[in-house]
Symmetry: C2
Subunit: 124 residues, 2 copies
Amino acid sequence: MSNTKVLPLIAPESDAVAPCCPPLTERPFTAEEAETAARMFKALGDPVRLRLFSAVASHEGGEACVCDISDVGVSQPTVSHHLKKLKEAGLLTSERRGTWVYYRVEPSVLAAMGRLLTVAPAAT
Amino acid sequence: MSNTKVLPLIAPESDAVAPCCPPLTERPFTAEEAETAARMFKALGDPVRLRLFSAVASHEGGEACVCDISDVGVSQPTVSHHLKKLKEAGLLTSERRGTWVYYRVEPSVLAAMGRLLTVAPAAT
């Protein structure tokens, strides 16, 4: 019922990522907010993708290329495919340097997702 | 490669929900950790389910029955189906009172998910 536009949470390659949504416990999400937030949760809703994401997120310097990630038990093309999906969801950014594409976690998006899960004080 | 057992993050109807995993930025997830965490992210990876979840989470008293949620634009059986899925993922607990089943957010699970998304200080 609101006329306000949904701020894009997903802005690949951008430093300025606006949080889309209030905490899930604050008020019912609008359809637009739910679309945006669900896309990010869905990107992390696959075990292999989640392992790759944590591999990048925890890698030295906060970034990694496919060449750094080889112990997840899937082929390099599969790794590339999943990293691309995470990038499309706005969770990773990428930069080509020579032969390799380096992926980096978008901290503001991660923080925005964490904010969604903030638990409000129990209403009794 | 670890012999340690994965702590169950999902324990429906239980008050004692152990967090399964460290923050995603801390170290690469094991396959077991990723399985557990991905299941929860996946449950929130659907726009309708996410709206229903926020409707329950933000409802007066922190709980709601299907009878309280009617403005998401889907039928009551669909609402029930999605609430059941959220319960199976450990995100909601339920209790029957008379005619209706009341759903409540499991705060410890929400907190554990929020912890996964904690952003570590930037490593440079």
